[in-house]
Symmetry: C2
Subunit: 336 residues, 2 copies
DNA sequence: CTGTTAGCGCATTCAT
DNA sequence: ATGAATGCGCTAACAG
């Protein structure tokens, strides 16, 4: 209780206390754009005054003047989904490394809410926008760019979009998964897709079709939710209709399948071999551990931030490597 | 490509186009604080001009003038941890319902990084701060309050802190878990604690001790990570030292235990009954599904936001209910 | 009911 | 090398 909550110190306060002008103090605080005599700077002057007053530059004022906030908006379909959550975490980290603050918003898979969030972020004068949506939605990046704000899509770009997009190599991932399951002697490899074939996850279903190269392998469908996949699995097991080898479009579904199999008394990988396609951290500690084609989320995040801040052809915009197969127990490998 | 990225329209632009003053336009945009003739407002005037120019109020300028940004800073230990991630999601939602934008930062369990984030958020003139740390750290809320910015701790408050804190009722949760396991006939109930007994999770270990009321029940320890718990479990099973009934301090550990048990061939709940104490969404779809004492994360988030924005005694600051037991299969209940 | 005007805190140009 | 003065876009007091 030394001091009552007083008005925060401003540049003017520091200047007065240091017996200097606001211009000089500004030059000192920003190391430029003009030189300041070392004596003025240190010797019982500017720096000292700033420290004594516990001066903290007001970024709002700075933003108004310099037309740049140092804040980037991150629009997510839903951070509760571990895939998006992990992506968000990497994006926030990459942004922080570039000295940007992250304004985060969840659209809950709603195109309207996504639109609203973008509107708010634009009003907040963000320096850029990273958009991670599940599928569909308006071309909000175009809207941002019309307002002079750069934007990047990650994971999914709406059909009508033309802005840069960073996505994983789904074809390679699916191909890898199919090949691995076949190496276990599975002639037929079923696929658990989403409810509709929209978006990049829907694309995986097409990749599976072309990878198996035949038309009689089983195509299963359910929502991208653990509970839905678990229910489907219990039902299939009860009807004796569960195929022996399965690729799931997402980790969420794979985890649901494992839960359903456990509840139905079906052993994995004994009675069912499973490979998933995201490779989020969650997949490493399921029972049994999931074999996955792991998407390089961190590389995707770094590339997205590079493209956003430096343009698509900058050196900082390193390429995204293909998914890599991580062999664990759910496919039948290992001492399971 | 209809228009090249031009300077965004300002209040002045709208005023000029509508043939009105900036004051009137401001009154219209904000519905106040003074009345405006309906004719001026609608009839081919202000609203029309704003729409034609695609006017979007600059919140930075507004913030500078009104000394309030409409942005709240959320400092997290680590959003990758599903417990914190779920909490963050609820907090963002509660903040959105109050028309606040959320600036999110992850401290990665580092006190230094947490300090740095708070500094940045304060410089960004946030209207408030929500701090979710694992344990320890400086009393950053006090620092914020010294700068005139309200702050709330969620989950954990550092020992030296005096700011409001919203936390779960750990004692009740642990007691519930112990009682349930005993009802399954388990005389002894082991506990898997964290590496040190710091923070609220450490508190759970003390609650367990008092709940079992004896000194010879097994106390296990490992890091709050799935991998650590899985490794510990494999080791214990290999040595034949795994107790038959176990309460884990966190869901992360419980999931690790399940993974370890699966890898080691130990059946749950057959050979080991497990109850966990967080109840994050993840716990519902493990194999087998986890019985948990579920923390009311959503209520905690709402209360935190209520306390932050309206003060601790406001009506909006509804109380946090105790944890509720969710019975699933890992304890031995159900048709497992 | 509406117009004019003075700052909010800072970066920067123009003088010195 | 430094100081004085201007304006970023907006809100709200102050005049009509």
């Amino acid at each position: 209780m030394t001091k009552r909550a007083a008005r925060a110190a401003t540049l003017t306060d520091v200047a007065r206390r240091a017996g200097a002008s606001t211009a000089v103090v500004s030059y000192v605080m920003n190391n430029g754009p003009r030189p300041v005599a070392a004596a003025t700077r240190e010797r019982e002057r500017v720096l000292a005054a700033a420290a004594e007053l516990n001066y903290r530059p007001n970024r709002v004022a700075r933003a108004l003047r310099s037309r740049t906030t140092g804040v980037v908006g991150l629009v997510l379909a839903d951070a509760s989904n571990p895939y998006f959550g992990a992506l968000a975490r990497h994006i926030e980290r990459a942004l922080g490394a570039r000295d940007k603050l992250t304004l985060t918003g969840n659209a809950d898979y709603s195109a309207d809410r996504q639109q609203d969030l973008v509107e708010r972020f634009l009003a907040a004068q963000v320096d850029g926008l990273v958009i991670v949506s599940a599928d569909g939605g308006a071309d909000v990046a175009a809207e941002a760019e019309a307002a002079g704000v750069p934007a990047v899509y990650v994971h999914n770009r709406p059909a009508s979009g033309h802005s840069p997009v960073v996505s994983a190599d789904n074809d390679a991932a699916v191909h890898t998964a199919v090949t691995h399951l076949r190496s276990h002697g599975h002639d037929r490899v079923a696929f658990l897709a989403g409810p509709h074939d929209a978006g990049p996850v829907g694309h995986r279903r097409a990749a599976w079709e072309s990878a198996v190269g035949r038309t009689d392998d089983t195509l299963l469908r359910c929502a991208y939710a653990r509970a839905a996949a678990a229910a489907l699995t219990r039902d299939l097991v009860a009807r004796g209709a569960m195929p022996p080898a399965l690729i799931t479009a997402t980790d969420e579904q794979a985890i649901g399948v494992l839960a359903g199999a456990s509840a139905a008394g079906l052993s994995v990988p004994g009675g069912l071999a499973v490979v998933s396609l995201d490779g989020t951290p969650d997949s490493a500690h399921t029972a049994p551990a999931l074999t996955v084609a792991e998407q390089p989320l961190r590389a995707m995040a770094r590339r997205a931030v590079g493209v956003l801040l430096d343009g698509a052809d900058s050196a900082s915009a390193e390429a995204v490597p293909p998914a890599s197969l991580i062999v664990r127990r759910s496919c039948g490998c290992g001492s399971g």
